[in-house]
Each structure stands twice: as structure tokens, then as C-alpha cells.
């Protein structure tokens, strides 16, 4: 029969004081590994940001310090004025996130409740934009946008395309939120108490996934803020396009970095708030 490892490796006498735990040792090794990993990655992620930070305080001659770049966010005239590109991008962010949510939230809840058989295909469609490159999409969007330009010239019209780009991220965030609650049971309970579909969706389900909704909102907005390809190829001007053209005309202009950092900080702070809000909610429910 099978030979089994003998137990006779430990001393027979009882160890004095606290026995040295094997789990504790393993945990220590793991923690050391984690610290090393976090430090290295933190350095890797921070260095470009720090470089940007340093450069955003760069004066007109290399090596000097000045806050001019930050003031330029508002004052840079372009053309077009930087501040107007910032505005456009912010508005696009808002528009994109709101429309994305309006499109996805009811649809996803509805699918989960009544049309589960579509969910595979639905997921496929939502994740498709992740892998249809924006540059490919824009080749096919060019004719569509030619039509749109007949009616409206503003760069805000980019939101139609941005919603598509935001779908995968918003879908994932919302799906995580829906998975965390038992949609079926909640809705059946609400329905058995007499609620109609509208109430079920917006007063029962949606409030229970508000972190996921916030998450999706922010991811969509962040995407709109950072988008370049479609705007650039369709010859619109948004924040990223303007930053690019500033660099083409005035290489390494500090205002590029001050603006980018401001945008990054904005998005990051919002995301942190969402994540903390999520934690507080969970605490309250215990």
C-alpha cells in the first residue's frame, strides 16, 4: 500500500513557550513579497506622474520653477482657447456617462429579470467595443458623422461614439453590482407587494446597486475625458486633441502637463470617493 510520510520529524518533548507557527511563517514571507511588489509598482506608476508634476512647474528656461503652466490652463488662447476644450471634454464626459447609464441600467435589469436568454448575446455586444479598435470604428463612423455634421457641428456630437466606447467598462461595473444583489428575489418580492416594473427598477433594484452605478458613471466620464483617436481622426477638437496639437506646435509646453495632471487628479479623487462610499455602505449593512 501507499507509504505515507511519517510524523516523527518533530521533537517529542513539548516545546516551551509559544510554538513557532507554520502559518505565521508563511504569512510573513507573503507579506514581505507584497511589500516589495507594491513598492516597485508604486515607483513605476508614480515616476511618469512625478515627471509630469515637475514639468508642470517648469519655467520658460529649463531648470527653473514657476506656476505659469497652471495659470495657463485658463489663459491659454490656442487657438482654440484651452479652457473651451476642457469645457467640451467635461460636457462630453457628463453626456456620455448619463446616456450610457440610461441605456444600460434599465436594459440590464430587464434582461436579468425577463429575458435571461439574451444575456450571452448582450454581454457579447457590450464587450465588443473593447476589441473593435476605435480606429477601426472611426473608419466606419466617418460616413455616419458626415450625416451628423449636416445637423450639428459641435464636438459634443462625439458622445454618440463615446457611449459605444464606454459600454464594456460600464457593463462590467454594472454587472458586478447586479451580481451582488439577488435581482430576481428582490423584484419578485416587490412585485408580490404590488409594485409595477418602473418602481421595481428605479426604487428597488437601482438603489441597491448605486455604487456600481456611480462606478460606471465615473468610468464612462473618465473615458470621455481621455479619448483622442475618434476626435482626432474625425477632425474635432477636444481636450486631448488640443494637448496634442500644443505639443506639435510647442514641444514640451508645460501647460500640457498641468492640464493632464488636473484631469487625472479629478478622475482619481472621484473614483476614491466612490470606493470609500461603497465601504461605508457595507459597514452600515452589517
Amino acid at each position: 500500500m501507499a507509504a505515507v510520510t511519517s510524523v516523527g520529524e518533530a521533537p517529542l518533548a513539548a516545546p516551551a513557550g509559544r510554538p513557532r507557527g507554520m502559518q505565521a511563517g508563511r504569512r510573513k514571507r507573503l507579506n514581505a513579497f507584497r511589500y516589495v511588489v507594491f513598492t516597485l509598482f508604486a515607483a513605476f506608476f508614480l515616476l511618469p506622474l512625478l515627471a509630469m508634476l515637475r514639468f508642470s512647474f517648469e519655467g520658460s528656461t529649463l531648470g527653473t520653477w514657476s506656476v505659469a503652466a497652471w495659470k495657463q490652463i485658463v489663459s491659454y488662447q490656442g487657438p482654440p482657447p484651452l479652457i473651451s476644450s476642457v469645457e467640451i471634454s467635461l460636457e462630453l464626459g457628463l453626456l456620455t456617462s448619463v446616456v450610457t447609464l440610461a441605456l444600460l441600467v434599465p436594459t440590464m435589469i430587464w434582461i436579468r429579470l425577463r429575458v435571461q436568454w439574451i444575456s450571452r448575446a448582450f454581454e457579447f455586444l457590450c464587450l465588443l467595443p473593447l476589441t473593435i479598435p476605435a480606429i477601426v470604428l472611426v473608419v466606419g463612423l466617418a460616413p455616419v458623422y458626415n450625416k451628423i455634421r449636416h445637423y450639428e457641428l459641435s464636438a459634443l456630437m462625439l458622445f454618440w461614439a463615446y457611449v459605444i466606447l464606454a459600454l464594456p467598462y460600464a457593463y462590467r461595473a454594472l454587472a458586478a453590482g447586479l451580481n451582488a444583489i439577488d435581482v430576481k428575489t428582490l423584484s419578485e418580492a416587490a412585485r408580490s407587494l404590488g409594485a409595477r416594473w418602473f418602481t421595481v427598477m428605479f426604487r428597488v433594484i437601482a438603489p441597491n446597486m448605486w455604487q456600481a452605478i456611480l462606478n460606471a458613471l465615473l468610468l464612462s466620464a473618465a473615458l470621455a475625458l481621455g479619448e483622442f483617436t475618434i476626435a482626432y481622426t474625425l477632425l474635432y477638437v477636444n481636450l486631448q486633441v488640443e494637448l496634442y496639437s500644443i505639443d506639435r506646435n510647442t514641444p514640451n509646453a508645460s501647460v500640457i502637463f498641468s492640464t493632464s495632471l488636473a484631469a487625472l487628479l479629478f478622475a482619481f479623487v472621484l473614483l476614491l470617493i466612490v470606493s470609500y462610499a461603497g465601504r461605508r455602505r457595507r459597514r452600515g449593512m452589517r
Binding site: 479598435p133 466606419g140 457611449v163 481621455g226 486631448q240 502637463f257
Partner: protein, 289 residues
């Protein structure tokens, strides 16, 4: 268990009566379908159809020959090289980081921090990232002047890694979370060492999710455009750059549908990748959900 109590029975709420219009349930999905049809499926369709148009407008396969000419092939080779390197780097490094995050406190500050950061940085590609790296390790870089910075593909691959790693963390972390503690404990109590656990249990279980995530990274790198444009736009190394040139240049009638053809090539590539990804995901989901 039936309780026959003295107290009277509570009245049952009345059932909702009345006629309701019996529409098929899938109609609720129509707004979404309409939107996606116009802004996703239609453009894709336009690309595919136009790729098969010859200069005279007829539909045939002649345009596809363009795909195999050496110039076009070089764009695809360039794309594939860059994607392979950046997704391999991103996958391995991202997996390590994801494991470090997953093995910590599930409610801890570190975990939430890194996930929030990953959410932002995965989006932070594009022009600002390229500029940041130029300022860091470019010709007038603050950290160093990397002579390889403007070389293809390694210089640009390093920049790609910056957003590939966070994406890997976002995609792969749930898989690591899905490794149940019981499997490790069962393996331990059956006598396995750490190495044996990863070799026979942990590794095989994570493999589909890992390679699926790597594929996602590959597709992500394939689509990247802004970063490389901001990094260096004099030469078109990869397909997206050439597509831009083809769309916005007025030069040469033979280029009329080069953009569509190149785009079709990318679509085919991506379709293959996504199919493999879906297959791997199914396996991973069955084990790790």
C-alpha cells in the same frame, strides 16, 4: 410543519386582475439594440463592405490582395510585435501585482487604492502618457536619456506596459479572488508544498483566466493609437497609424479603400482573439466563479 393555532388566518392580498398587453419581453432590449446597431454594427458593416469594393465600386476580392503586399504586411508585423511584447509584459507583471493585491485584506485600504488607481490608469493611455514618458526618459528626460526610447518596438512597449498592467489587474484580480481557500487548505492537508499547490492546483486553475486576460491585453494593445501618435508620428509602424494616414490623405486613388482593407484585417484578427478569449473565459468561469 403545519401549525393549527387558535388565532384566525390572515387574509391573502388580492391578485392583480385585468388585461395587460402581452408584448414579447425582448422588446425591452430594443433601445439598446437600436443604438448599438447604428453606432457599432453599422460602422463595422460599412468597413467590411467597403473593404471588398474595388476602385470602380464593384464588390470583389481584389482589394484583399492589398493586405498581403509587403507594405501592408509590415504594418501588421509591427502591430503584432508590439502587441506581443506589451501584452506578455503586462500579463506577467499584472498577474504578480494582482496576486499581491488579492492576498491582502479584502477590505483593506491598499486593495481599494490599487483598484481605484488601476481603474484610472487603465484609461490613462493616450497622448498625456506618451508625453509623460518623453519627459521622464526621453532626450531631455528628467530621470535619464534612454537611447532606446524612440526605437520600435521596445521604447513604445515600455509605455504600453503602463496601461497594460492596470488592465491586467482589473481583469485578472477576480480570477485570483475566485481561488477558494478550501482548495489551498485541502491541498495542504493532503500533503502538498507551496510549489506543489501552484503546480497542480492553483496554476492550472488560473491558467485559462490568465491567458484569457493576456488575450484581452493583446487586443487592447492592438487598438492603441493615441499613445504611439504622440510618441512619434513621423513613421507609421503599426496598422492604426496607417489607417489614419489612409483616411485623411488625399493621395492616390489606389488608397481609396486602403483604410477599409486595413480595418478589415484588424477586425479579423480581433475576431480570432475574442473567440479564443470567450472559450478560455467559459472554462475559467466554471471553475472560479
Amino acid at each position: 410543519m403545519a401549525v393549527t393555532a387558535q388565532a384566525g388566518a390572515r387574509p391573502v392580498p388580492p391578485v392583480r386582475a385585468g388585461r395587460r398587453l402581452r408584448l414579447p419581453h425582448w422588446l425591452g432590449v430594443t433601445p439598446f439594440l437600436a443604438y448599438v446597431a447604428i453606432f457599432l454594427l453599422l460602422p463595422t458593416g460599412i468597413v467590411v463592405v467597403n473593404a471588398f469594393r474595388s476602385p470602380t465600386g464593384a464588390l470583389n476580392l481584389s482589394s484583399l490582395k492589398v493586405l498581403f503586399e509587403s507594405a501592408e504586411r509590415s504594418y501588421f508585423t509591427g502591430s503584432l510585435e508590439l502587441c506581443l511584447i506589451s501584452s506578455a509584459l503586462g500579463a506577467v507583471l499584472g498577474a504578480v501585482l494582482a496576486y499581491a493585491i488579492a492576498s491582502g485584506n479584502p477590505d483593506g485600504a491598499v486593495r481599494r487604492l490599487y483598484i481605484a488607481v488601476s481603474g484610472v490608469l487603465a484609461q490613462f493611455g493616450g497622448v498625456t502618457l506618451a508625453f509623460a514618458f518623453v519627459v521622464l526618459i526621453g532626450p531631455v528626460g528628467l530621470l535619464m536619456h534612454a537611447s532606446w526610447f524612440y526605437s520600435f518596438p521596445w521604447g513604445i512597449a515600455v509605455i504600453y506596459t503602463y496601461f497594460q498592467v492596470p488592465l491586467m489587474v482589473l481583469v485578472f484580480l477576480p480570477a485570483i479572488d475566485g481561488l477558494k481557500a478550501q482548495w489551498r487548505e485541502a491541498s495542504d492537508s493532503l500533503g502538498s508544498s507551496t510549489w506543489q499547490y501552484w503546480r497542480y492546483v492553483g496554476g492550472p486553475l488560473l491558467a485559462p483566466a490568465f491567458f484569457g486576460a493576456a488575450l484581452l491585453l493583446f487586443a487592447n494593445a492592438l487598438s492603441a493609437f493615441a499613445t504611439i501618435v504622440a510618441w512619434e508620428n513621423q513613421i507609421a509602424y503599426i496598422v492604426p497609424q496607417q489607417i489614419y494616414v489612409a483616411i485623411n490623405s488625399e493621395v492616390g486613388l489606389s488608397n481609396v479603400n486602403q483604410a477599409d482593407v486595413l480595418a478589415l484585417g484588424m477586425i479579423i484578427l480581433v475576431a480570432i482573439i475574442m473567440t479564443c478569449y470567450a472559450l478560455l473565459q467559459r472554462r475559467a468561469a466554471r471553475w472560479l466563479r
